[in-house]
């Protein structure tokens, strides 16, 4: 992956989140506090404004993480932000990286999310999408397939009862709604697949 792919990835993600901003808010209103789309769109807007190729994937990834940390807020801001800052530490100080490095960075990122959020698969959070997606990529699945699978994982949160995050307060009333953070994570994988395929 090149740095310009990296830039394109965040631009594509921003476009997708903006397009689905209201849907994400509505999903969050059903089982949370209705701000997930607004939060992510606000933060990603700042990211795409500032993100320019810098010659260093490490620096760019760290910048995205710091910017999301300081603009998104809420659970998703802390998770996305700290995961990216963590992931950046294994990225090269160059404009290019290979597949292994990318995998290592992803794995570092989800470790950080797990440590912060203490959620596992089945808790009805974005981890329900992140963990199987990274596992599939590690076992060699093409990004396009992983993205499709991510979307099904997000949809598969619908029947679950939330155990982490704000939706957990609803108890059994959280059943029957897709987790907003899972959907936005699936959008990130779609964005990645588009950028890598093209």
């Amino acid at each position: 992956m090149t740095e310009s792919d990296f830039v394109a990835l965040w631009r594509a993600f921003y476009d997708k989140v903006t397009a689905k901003r209201d849907e994400l808010n509505q999903l969050d209103a059903a089982i949370g506090d209705g701000d997930h789309g607004t939060n992510l769109a606000r933060g990603l807007g700042r990211v795409v404004e500032e993100l320019k190729p810098s010659g260093s994937l490490r620096a760019s990834c760290r910048m995205v993480g710091m910017r999301l940390l300081s603009t998104v807020g809420g659970a998703s801001g802390a998770l996305w932000g700290s995961a990216l800052v963590s992931a950046s530490t294994v990225l090269p100080d160059e404009a290019q990286m290979n597949h292994e490095t990318a995998l290592a960075a992803l794995s570092r990122g989800i470790d950080q999310m797990r440590a912060r959020g203490k959620a596992e698969v089945g808790d009805k959070t974005m981890m329900d999408v992140w963990i199987p997606a990274v596992t599939a990529l590690e076992s060699g699945a093409p990004v396009g397939d992983v993205a499709a699978q991510a979307m099904s994982s997000a949809e598969a949160t619908r029947p679950l009862q939330a155990r982490r995050g704000r939706a957990a307060y609803l108890g059994s009333r959280s059943i029957g709604h897709v987790d907003p953070g899972s959907l936005s994570t699936a959008l990130w994988w779609e964005a990645l697949a588009e950028v890598v395929d093209s």
């Binding site: 808010n25 209103a29 059903a30 089982i31 949370g32 506090d33 209705g34 701000d35 607004t38 939060n39 606000r42 940390l69 300081s70 603009t71 998104v72 807020g73 809420g74 659970a75 998703s76 801001g77 802390a78 998770l79 932000g81 700290s82 912060r116 959020g117 155990r163 982490r164 995050g165 704000r166 957990a168 307060y169 609803l170 108890g171 009333r173």
Partner: protein, 336 residues
């Protein structure tokens, strides 16, 4: 959506300016941040207190910045936890060399963002401790879940830990008294109407004319169940019974109670709840020492209320009654 606002994007920014302009003797806004800090900083060598959370809960938390309570309050967007860089600014402003206590409401987002800020502050050499308030009995508590939410009982933590910090106690002592309050405070709330986040423009839920949401949080989220509207006394009694059984109040206890409006409930109605709280305490043989009645922790314009019970001992009572001088909570006026 009808609101007294300018551009919805500017709501938090302008409201923070408004707080600082309305209460200049109490708070100042740290430039380019969402932090309200004391206009007159605390004496050096005393523990600083920082709290915060999403906006929309006013007067929480900026209204509690001042003598005897907080040193800084950090505001996020409406109903959204503040970001770690902002919390860090709050910690810096509250640090007078004796360490800083973070008072965090138990929401995943708040906890994580305050945790990250704490790590950043510690990296700068500031001693930081933190407590997590989880007073809401509506939510099932379990190790395998997020645990209970923090709601209005948080203000008792501000008050009591703030009073002790003002006297020069150590960070460990201030943290310990905060934890003692947390272990002895329970709350529960209900909503008659939803509220609308300015940036969204639509209410977070809808209720029929005869329905209420019981066991709500403070972010306009749905409660734990929908019930039919009942008379104030019945409503209060069922909540009080739940609070007291969660506190194991089997024998007569010494109590403080808070009747907290959610933002859109008139004081006329809060007073009717206060009456019932006093009568219930009397009936149960409790010694109800203090009632706080008003708007302490709100959800925008939501109609509804929460009830909080705090089980007092000598020390907590004395600290609860100590003077405080903040925009929203003042007590201890000297006069003949």
């Amino acid at each position: 959506m009808k609101k007294v606002v300018n551009r919805v994007e500017d709501v938090v920014d302008e409201a923070l300016d408004g707080m600082a302009l309305a209460f200049p003797a109490y708070v100042r806004r740290i430039p380019n941040t969402n932090v309200l800090a004391r206009a007159v900083p605390k004496k050096g060598g005393r523990v600083g207190l920082v709290s915060g959370g999403g906006s929309g809960h006013e007067p929480a938390h900026g209204g509690y910045v001042g003598y005897g309570m907080l040193d800084a309050a950090v505001a996020g967007e409406v109903f959204t936890s503040p970001t770690p860089d902002q919390v860090l600014e709050g910690i810096r402003a509250a640090n007078h060399g004796a360490g800083v206590l973070l008072i965090v409401k138990n929401y995943t987002g708040d906890v994580m963002n305050f945790d990250i800020a704490r790590e950043l502050a510690e990296a700068e050499g500031i001693e930081v401790a933190s407590v997590t308030v989880d007073d809401d009995v509506a939510v099932q508590d379990s190790l395998y879940t997020t645990g209970r939410r923090g709601i209005a009982g948080t203000i008792y933590v501000h008050k009591i830990a703030g009073a002790l910090a003002e006297r020069g106690a150590s960070l460990a002592e201030v943290k310990a008294v905060a934890e003692s309050v947390i272990s002895r405070v329970r709350s529960m709330g209900f909503a008659l109407t939803p509220c609308t986040v300015p940036a969204n423009g639509t209410p977070t839920f809808t209720l029929e004319e005869n329905e209420l949401e019981m066991g709500i949080g403070i972010h306009g989220e749905p409660g734990i169940q929908r019930e039919s509207v009942r008379q104030a006394d019945e409503l209060a009694e069922s909540m009080l019974d739940r609070l007291s059984s969660d506190l194991d109040l089997n024998s007569p206890a010494r109590l403080a109670a808070m009747i907290n409006g959610m933002g859109g409930t008139p004081m006329l109605e809060l007073a009717i709840l206060a009456r019932k709280v006093a009568h219930w305490s009397q009936d149960k043989g409790h010694d109800l020492r203090r009632i706080w009645m008003g708007e302490y922790m709100t959800s925008l314009e939501m109609q509804g209320a929460s009830l909080t019970l705090l089980s007092l001992d000598d020390r907590l009572q004395e600290l609860l009654d100590a003077p405080s001088d903040t925009p929203a909570l003042r007590q201890g006026v000297a006069h003949d």
